[in-house]
Every structure is written in structure tokens, then in C-alpha cells.
Assembly symmetry: C2
Homo-oligomer: 503 residues x 2
């Protein structure tokens, strides 16, 4: 889709220096060439490209690259020196001066200014805002679905990383293949055996996170215009993948305990040309639902005779609150129709961006799209995760974080029950770290998001989990950061909801 901002800001237009006919053109302009060059440099200094203390490019470099005379560059630098923004250091060059300029403290764009009314395109802005909130460490993090940093095996990963980095293996410096390294694919195949799937390493592709896995799966099985059945509510990333690929979502009612309603799905595929189905079978985002085994089997059996591919996102599957993690729908797949997607972003590292897909009979198509999208996934990070999985610490780590997240979820449920008004309903998942909260009808989640930001709390408003506004009075809470401070934040949040419910 072509998106063109019609009002391309004048200030962003690059100032162009002509390398030929410089003199004739310059004569036609209002300000002399050296002044234009000085202005251009000043702009780069004010936006922080060249920050205080930075050395500016040498006079010779600028002269060569901009196609102007050395004298012109010297005049420009002299002008900036006169204006006080740079200084010459003998035998060294020109440097940006340290000046505390109030204009340098640019307010973060859109941080506290969500739009007042929501149109379709603004859902994207809202998603970006919730994501951006997650990098603001001054906010209480009840928003983006980030894991607790203290529950990631960062020290161990760093030790493995340092060691592998010193190995200087030639393969680790080269690009790697689209399907990823055999070591990690073998580890994933090993774990998949315990999920009920007999997958060989060559049936797997390593991806840049679960986002790429789901995105490639959709590309492999759909064409623009196709209808895709999804859960409602659903993770906004799935909605975005569908929309950006020119597909159309068909939202199927989904229960907070059992997951997607199979009768509704059956009806939908009877009456609409559904080309693919996407589910988060285990510990759904945002619902927390976990499909019972018989539903997983029934789902596979429902789609198989119609040859409809099932894209199964299992990103939270390992975060079961009990010792035993649930199976995946793929374990019931006898036709290669299930494309199972997951990643290590929730339990090992969100920043590594390493995920995987077992695409069944669509392997070749997924591989082709992977090549044309990102070519391959950073091989060093693949090796680090493979080694972590291999050396046996993963199971111990999982036991630890499962207990911790179970406690955080319980703590948050109690906090909401204590502080939120009557009429509030809350999910009770058996895994993951997300809670789905239904507020009294008159409470608008966007208004709540806006008010909460004012007191330093971020959360995920219900609008971003559907292409319709039907979840306007719902919010998703991330419990991963739950702590004493966050528990107090729940009280404050409850107070705001109480007030809004009465208004």
C-alpha cells in the first residue's frame, strides 16, 4: 500500500549542493554557498547527528564530498565558530561545543498524547505508543507483553556469547543459510518431541522471532485478498501481519478458557472462503486461554478435509504454571497442514529475535519467502541459544520462571479484585503472564490508558486486539513486572477505573 504523507515537511528537505555548475547556481540563490553549508551543518548539529564533543568531518573531506572549494568549507566552519556552536582545536580539527541548549531536550513524540478519537490508521499509532512505552523505564510496565528482565538467563547467555565470540569460527562470520544452523534446528526438534511432534531438523526453519515465523506462514499459504480466520480478541501483531499483507481478517469468537469456538469456526468455513486459520493454542495473548487437547484434535480434524492450513502460534506454550506443558495442535496433524510457530523471546531473550517455524508441507514456500525477506537470521545468536538448550539448563530455568509467573499472575488477580469496581471481570490463565480484564461498559480503555499515563502507568487498551471497537472496555495487563511498586500501581489504576465507572 502506498502511503504518502502529503505534507512532507519543508524542513526535512535536504539542502542540495550541486557538484557541477556550483557557481552559476549559487549566484541564483539568496545566501552564499558557505552560509548554506553552515546552515546544513547547524541542522545536523541541532538534530544530534553531530553531538557535543564530536569531531566534524575534515575540511578536505567536506570539500571533496560536497564538491565545494576548501575556502568555502573554511568560511562555513568560521561562521559556525562565530555563532558559537563549534570550536577549532589546533592540530586536530573542528569540534561541536558543549552548550546546554534547552531546545536540545526534544520531548518524546507522542509519548503522552494518544489521539482523542480512533480511526483505523490510529490503531497502528496506538500500538506503536504501547510498544514505545515499554522502553520508558520510568513507567510502571503493565502494557507491552515483555517478560521480566530478571527472569531471563542473561548472565548465562552472555557467558556463552563471550565464549563463542572468541572462537572465531569462520562459519559464524559468514551469512548462513535461510533455514538456519543445524545445531539449533536439532535442539528445537528434540524439544518438539516432548510437544508430541516428530519433527526432523530439516523440517524446521529458524526465523527472526515468532513475528517473522507467523508473517512467513501467512505469505506461504495466502494471497492478497484472501480471508483469514483469527481469534477474537487476538494479538495485534497478527492483525498487523494480516493487514499489511493485504489479507482480510474474519474474527471468530474465542473463549477465555477453551480458546477459539469450534462451532463458530465450523460455521465460518462453511459460509466463507477461509484460506487459513491462525490460533494461539496455548496461553493466548491477550485471553490466556489454553485449548483442551480434544479441541486441538477437533480443530485439526475440522480443517484437514478442507485442506485449510492452520497457523499455530505457541510462543507462550512453555510458560505453563504446572510441571507439564500442553501439547500443540500440530501433534495431531497427519497431513502437514499445520505451520507451528514459536520463539525464545518470552523465556530466553526478547532481544535476540530468534524464533522458528515447522511449516509442514509448506516448507519450500516458507523458505523462499524467508530468503526474500531477511535472507537469514544472525548465526551467532542461533548458536548461543542452541548451546543454552543443549547444556541442560533450560529445563531448570523453565521450572524457575513458571513458578515466578504463576505468583505474579496470582498477585495481579488479587490486586485487581481488591481495587477495581464491581462489574470488573478477569481471566484466570494457567500459563503465560498476561491478564485480560473486562471493565464496566462505560469505562473506555483508551481514556483509561491516557489517564494512567498521566500517573506513570502504561497498559494495553482493548482497541488494539480487534479490527472492531468491540473490546473498548477491556484492557490487557502484563503481570511480568509485578512487584510491590506495581501492586500499588494497581490500586491507583483501580481508583481511576472506579472514578470512570461512576462518571
Amino acid at each position: 500500500m502506498v502511503e504518502v504523507s502529503k505534507h512532507y515537511p519543508k524542513s526535512k528537505l535536504p539542502i542540495i549542493y550541486e557538484r557541477s555548475n556550483v557557481n552559476e547556481r549559487a549566484a541564483l540563490r539568496s545566501s552564499p554557498l558557505y552560509e548554506q553549508l553552515a546552515d546544513e551543518l547547524a541542522a545536523q548539529i541541532s538534530t544530534g547527528v553531530f553531538g557535543p564533543g564530536d569531531k566534524l568531518p575534515s575540511v578536505r573531506q567536506v570539500s571533496q564530498n560536497k564538491g565545494v572549494s576548501v575556502t568555502t568549507v573554511l568560511q562555513a566552519y568560521q561562521l559556525l565558530e562565530d555563532r558559537g556552536s563549534i570550536e577549532a582545536r589546533p592540530q586536530s580539527g573542528y569540534y561541536v561545543r558543549f552548550i546546554p541548549l534547552p531546545s536540545l531536550t526534544v520531548p518524546e513524540p507522542g509519548f503522552f498524547t494518544p489521539p482523542d478519537d480512533l480511526e483505523e490508521a490510529q490503531i497502528d499509532d496506538l500500538v506503536m505508543m504501547v510498544m514505545r512505552d515499554s522502553t520508558n523505564l520510568e513507567l510502571i510496565q503493565l502494557g507491552a507483553a515483555q517478560p521480566d528482565p530478571s527472569l531471563l538467563p542473561t548472565d548465562r547467555m552472555n557467558r556463552i556469547l563471550s565464549r563463542l565470540a572468541r572462537l572465531n569460527d569462520i562459519h559464524q562470520n559468514m551469512r548462513g543459510l535461510p533455514e538456519g544452523c543445524i545445531e539449533l534446528r536439532t535442539q528445537v526438534a528434540k524439544r518438539a518431541f516432548l510437544l508430541g511432534c516428530s519433527i526432523a531438523p530439516e523440517d524446521l526453519l529458524i526465523t527472526s522471532g515468532c513475528t517473522e515465523a507467523v508473517s512467513l506462514a501467512l505469505r506461504a499459504v495466502c494471497q492478497p485478498g484472501d480471508l483469514v480466520a483469527i481469534e477474537s480478541p487476538t494479538y495485534f501483531g497478527i492483525l498487523q501481519a494480516i493487514e499489511t499483507q493485504g489479507l482480510r481478517p474474519l474474527e471468530i469468537p474465542t473463549h477465555q478458557r477453551d480458546g477459539i469456538n469450534l462451532e463458530a469456526l465450523d460455521f465460518a468455513i462453511e459460509h466463507y472462503p477461509v484460506k487459513a486459520v491462525v490460533v494461539m493454542s496455548n496461553y493466548h495473548n491477550p485471553l490466556g486461554s489454553c485449548m483442551p487437547e480434544e479441541n486441538k484434535r477437533a480443530l485439526v480434524d475440522l480443517l484437514a478435509p478442507r485442506e485449510i492450513p492452520l497457523i499455530e502460534d505457541d510462543i507462550h506454550g512453555e510458560l505453563s504454571f504446572s510441571d507439564q506443558r500442553p501439547l500443540v495442535a500440530k501433534s495431531f496433524d497427519q497431513n502437514g497442514l499445520v505451520l507451528l510457530c514459536s520463539s525464545f523471546s518470552k523465556d530466553i531473550s526478547p532481544s535476540y529475535r530468534v524464533g522458528w517455524i515447522a511449516p509442514g508441507r509448506f516448507f519450500t514456500a516458507v523458505q523462499k519467502h524467508k530468503m526474500a525477506t531477511t535472507l537469514s537470521t544472525p548465526i551467532l545468536l542461533q548458536h548461543v541459544i542452541a548451546e543454552f538448550l543443549d547444556n541442560g539448563g533450560y529445563d531448570h530455568h523453565l521450572r524457575k520462571i513458571r513458578r515466578a509467573y504463576a505468583q505474579k499472575v496470582t498477585q495481579t488477580v488479587h490486586g485487581v479484585l481488591r481495587s477495581f469496581p464491581k462489574g470488573t471481570q478477569i481471566s484466570s490463565p494457567e500459563g503465560g503472564y498476561l491478564l485480560w480484564v473486562q471493565l464496566p461498559r462505560q469505562v473506555d480503555s483508551l481514556a483509561l490508558y491516557r489517564e494512567a499515563l498521566q500517573v506513570g502507568i502504561t497498559l494495553a487498551p482493548g482497541y488494539i486486539f480487534s479490527s472492531t471497537p468491540k473490546f473498548h472496555n477491556y484492557i490487557r495487563l502484563n503481570t511480568a513486572y509485578m512487584s510491590f511498586a506495581a501492586e500499588k500501581a494497581l490500586d491507583i489504576l483501580g481508583g481511576i477505573v472506579q472514578k470512570m465507572a461512576k462518571a
Copy 2:
């Protein structure tokens, strides 16, 4: 596009264990449950999922996850022990035995077996084969466009990586934003100033390699079915991006010295609804061409009044053989219509998969597609590159590798002139490390590729650089690995071509 292999091999079907009604179903099957379980495990052992010395899942784990009794698992393990493929170690568990099985040395699929005749889909196979060759270190590497590993700053990068990994910065463990970290964007903006572009950090997005940058650029400005003007020949990755997005390529004649023919392009956009143009303006892959500045300006001026976006791939721009690198077409862009794409895969690290895009007025659209495709790029690797760019070693490094590649290209040109038959023509680029060789008409590049593989040499046949077979008698040579051994390989290759030219 839905790609379904109709002959989904029976052997790949997962063996399903029913968690409910296990006994009834098992009774209907020919072999007892424990034997089925043993066979499934044996299959996972033979494909290497569980390799020699690996510990198998505990009896309890298998029992729980497969929904069978402990006795059944014990019987299955006993059977595998009897068959000699696993062994019990007291107080420890069951392990896969070390047995040198000849059947374990699976031949690499398709390594030495390119197809005999080429249909459209097989071009993809051919590309995959050339890529796969690059991981076979026993081949002389004249194929994939990989840089010389010894010309990458691997030691310095590893030192920075180890140090940053120990910092334990919370931001480095978290996901990061779609546009990438501000530190790297600032460094890229700084360097862009010397390319003639005044770009602010907030005009940039960090991508997963240049592949993602070009792919996102196409997604941002085109819709399926749109016509995209490209150079002919062109890098096969651009052809794949166009094809997988459902776009149509329009190949414009391109000269090995000056790049895309502007008269031909002008004619094309007069007569066809061209929605975007893609060029590799500097040190083109495979041609090695570098557009003169006046052509870059003329190209921008040609497209601006028609509001046609220009996607400019500058991945080889820094690899100039002279001290001064060429400008980019974007430096002449006054309308935000040029989407400039590049990466650090050729000069710093192919395996980091870190690239960038300056998408002009299409920033929002590119950001949205980035979110829906890979969400973000691994933040630690971004920081490592930012630090390498910042500490001043980059320019020194560039000077070193520019000299080295200039020598390798010269050496290869001489080798080809010496060994190849009369009628051979060869490009003479002023940057990069690729050569484009026109062989006598009767020499088929695919046949040559096949024969060269037999003697341990890989190269890139001309077929993969166009959607037509018009470059059937061309090859691309990667000179990056040029050495004494590789020079001898040129003599051998020349001998094969001589023979084929006479046949």
C-alpha cells in the same frame, strides 16, 4: 502464493499417539504401542535429532507427554536397547549409543545435482544451490557474493561484543523498537552526511540486512500486481523480492560502466505504469557499474515529476577502489522520493544481518511493515556496530579492504584474460569485488556451473540474474576469495570454457 507439494512423503508423517482412548486405538493397530513408540524414537535417532551420546527424555517425561504408561515407555526403551541403538546407564537414564552407521552420512541434498533444464521455479533452486555452495568450505568460492572473511574486522567486533555482553544493560535484553537503536541511527546519519545526504537519525530505520531494507521499501511503495522497473541484469535477491510480493519486473537495459540506461527507462515509464524503480547505483551486482553523478541526478529528475519512488541499493558503495566513495542518487532527492538501502554485510559482518533504510516520505509505511515482518532487529548487534563506527576504526578498515579488493579484482581480470577463450569479455569495475564475464555464445553457464562443481569450483551462472534466459552465456565471479589456489582454479575454469567453446 500457495505452494503445496502434492507428494507429501509418507515417511514424514508424524506418528500420532492418542492421549485418550489409547488402548482402544492401539488394539486396532498392527504393532503394539511400545513398538510404535520405539520406532518413533528410532526415527528421531536416525535423523540425528537425538545424536550419539545424547540423553533421551526420562521415562516419566515421555510417559506424561505421550500419554502412555510408564511400562510402555520402559518396554520401548528395552526394545531399542535390544536393537543396540541405545544403552541404559545406571542412576542416569538412557543414552544413544555411538555406532558408526554408514546410513548416517546423508549426502547433502542437491549439492552436485543442478537440474538439467531450467524452468521458472528452478531458478529458485539454482539460487539456493549457489548460496548453499558458499557454506561448503571445500569448494573454491567464486560463487555467492560473500566478502573475504579475513577482510572482516572480526577480532575487533568480538572484543566489543564480549564487552557489551558483560554490561548487562537492561535495554540490551529487551526487545527494542522497530526503527532500531538511536546510537546506530546517529552513526549512520553521520556517515550519510559524507554521501551528500542530510539525514536525521529519526529519518532512519535499522533493518535485518539490506535484503529486509529493499523488501520493506517495495512493500511500502507497491501493491501486488504493480510493475517495477529494474536493471538487467540484476541481483537475484531483488528479483526474488519482486516475485514473492506478487509484483512484476520490467527489465531495463543496463550498461556495465554507467548503469541503467536512462533513455530506455524514460521510454519505459512513458509507456508502462511503472510504480517504482530499483537500482544499485554504485558497484552494481553483478555488473560492477557505477552511475556517474550526472546520471544519478538525471534519474532523480526523471522520476520526481511523475512521483515514482526510487529504491536505491547502495550495499557496495563503501567498497570504492579510490579514496573517495561515490555519492548516492538520494543526495539529489528534494522530494523524499528516494528510499536509500544499505547494510554492513559487505564490510563489517555478513552474519550480523544489520542494515538500514532512509525511506524519505515513506517512513511510516516502512515502519509499519517492519513491525509486521520482524518487529525489530537484534539490539546487541546494533550496539556493537554503532560502537565500531563510533570509535574511529571504520575509515582505517575501509582503506585497508578497498586496496585489498582492488588487487583481487585486478588479479582475477588478469587470470580470466589469460585462461579464458577468445571472445570472452569481462567487466572492469572501480569498486566492489564482483566480475561479470560474457562467455562465447555457445557456452551455457549452467552446464559450466555443473562441470565446475565436479572439479570443486562454484560460480554464479547468468540465469539467476534475470527473469529471462538472456544471460545464459554469462557468469558472475566473486573475487573476494582470490588467492594462489583460486588463481589456479581460474586456469582450470578457463580450460573447461575453452573445451565448451569448441564443442
